[in-house]
Symmetry: C4
Subunit: 209 residues, 4 copies
């Protein structure tokens, strides 16, 4: 898929997620890797109304070090760009990262400590996890939940340390407590599939408590 088509597809998801109330009040950020260069990704600019996003409301960032490579006048990269940068640099096969705020991800309270940094939280073995490509019967899975530092690069560093010491999570997403899920996938379509499954999963977890 060429870059323009990718940005149009992400823009369409932005409108859809806004209508689902996952991107209220400018919340969330969506990105796609540039398939031609592979070393750049495009992420939603900061402060945009996600129900009215246009396919020109993206800025270009370096996968290697997060440098801003290109931005239309007046556009600033999302405050959470550093998290996307870590995910693209740690997983060369990932083509898209999607981060939204869902109610259920904010209802779940894990009490992850600031020093602790992250915690592995068990997830129930329901059918929907097959959407993550995991076909074991009643698998014992966990998801990593990170502390929500105000300084976003600190969260990004924490995630980078997790990937380099613990490894890539078995599930294609992570959670930041009191904030929301970030998912990834080989393509935008796969990332969207993962996000819908994550939403279903978090709804079940939040309501079963």
């Amino acid at each position: 898929m060429d870059l323009i088509s990718s940005l149009q597809e992400v823009t369409k998801l932005s409108h859809l997620y806004y209508s689902r109330q996952w991107m209220f009040a400018t919340a969330g950020n969506l990105s796609t890797r540039d398939n031609s260069s592979h070393t750049e990704f495009w992420i939603t600019a900061s402060g945009k109304h996600k129900g009215e996003l246009k396919d020109t409301d993206f800025v270009c960032v370096s996968v290697k070090d997060g440098t801003l490579l290109s931005a239309k006048e007046g556009l600033k990269p999302s405050a959470e760009t550093s998290i996307h940068q870590v995910l693209y640099s740690q997983m060369p096969n990932v083509g898209s990262c999607l981060h939204v705020h869902t109610l259920e991800s904010n209802l779940l309270e894990f009490g992850v400590g600031k020093e602790e940094g992250y915690r592995e939280i068990p997830i129930p073995p329901i059918e929907i996890i097959k959407a993550f490509g995991i076909w074991d019967e009643k698998p014992s899975l966990t998801m990593p939940v990170f502390y929500n530092h105000t300084d976003v690069p600190t969260i990004a560093n924490q995630i980078k340390r997790y990937f380099t010491t613990v490894g890539i999570p078995k599930v294609p997403f992570l959670l930041i407590e009191g904030h929301g899920p970030t998912v990834w996938g080989k393509s935008i379509a796969e990332a969207n599939k993962h996000l819908e499954a994550v939403h279903f999963l978090l709804q079940v977890m939040a309501r079963r408590v």
Copy 2:
């Protein structure tokens, strides 16, 4: 109704169910019997985005033994085809089977054991059950809930054994635990009516707990 019209009607339901978040992340599968041959049914192909399903995204399967009779290149039958096959073969009057993933069907926990295979679960005698054609006052009804084997043909066999030993359920649906409801009806419209009633019922059951 001719086959093309039937497939168009099922496709429309797929889009509707996706918008209701019942078919998130490629979840669910819908089928209709071919009214002319009666010995074949058409089921959604595996892995399709249910909000973007086309009326050509179906494959043709034998009611008798589940053999794949016809499929456009690149299309594979849904992983749960064997369950639909059992339902069509056990109930000659059934013209459509619909299976979706709803949140409430995943909130309800029954603890059905793997060896046990299934359990009869009481359902509350609320007005909506009249949609199933049951008009008794405050009837004592149950629904069969099956264990969610990873190997789908094992679930299908369990259901077949239920139908041949216990009989056809009084309610036009069954549940697979941690997975979702499967409903049936003489026509697509009737199956849809049953599914809407089942959703209402499961919402009540999940919230009353």
Copy 3:
């Protein structure tokens, strides 16, 4: 408003209520009094898909005794016509009655006994009750909740007895337990306003429990 316009307005509400999942699986029935004759009302025919209702899917019934006065071939009056007939005959100013099935009205359990027939249930003094035209500060209001007899005319008689012995309820609606609310208003617009307020109220009651 002439009859055709009234039926078109009710039809539009039917589609809206279906999309809100208040008229799933053919549930519910809507009616409007004929403003010219005043002695007749038009009610949705039985068994129709409420999301696809047409303005010709209504039958004409006598306010005085519930006699079917006119119906297109193939149309039968709703099973709950007798309840509408009681409401129109007891309240000459009422121009429209709306009955739907909402989830929250089914979550609330009052345990009204069959012999008992009905019970007065307190409702919380929240702002939305001003939509009923009640402006007292923190009023102590109740709503009548009736037993859900399978024989609908028995419910209708119970309601008639309530109106003739207790009087017209202060709130413009009643509830049938495990079934749903029935509201009324001088016009279709007012009845709709009342229904939206009742839905808000029942949601609060069901969630506060």
Copy 4:
């Protein structure tokens, strides 16, 4: 933004909020300051169906003393105009005030006493509060919740006393118990952003209880 464009933008929000069930049964009122005169604001007329509001369904009110300055025949100012007047007069930078009825704001019970008048209620330090322009890590914030007097000017006076003695709240909204939130912002877009964040916040508070 000129006045016509502002009224069109508010009208669009009215339709959107109605579809979200935040303005059921004529509930709620929306207003915008006239940017040219700065001493006038326009507020929705009383009793209108918020899903069918037109950009001519507004009346003009004096910021200084709440006098009705201009209204098309048949239009009365919203019953809660006095609250908007206090907010515009106390905060010269505010360009729009939005008041809606949300379910969650009615699920939360604080027991604010009539004599007491208001109470400061703690809000959880979740990510969405950054939408209010507050970037502290895990801040200890409160929101003012007022008693719902039937006489609206009494509420307005209570709010005015709060602003002149306690000061402008750190968060851009207040709550009236059993009623709903009122938010403000420099522009209509900012007020809308605040309202979406408030809705998210109140959902979390109502469900975590």
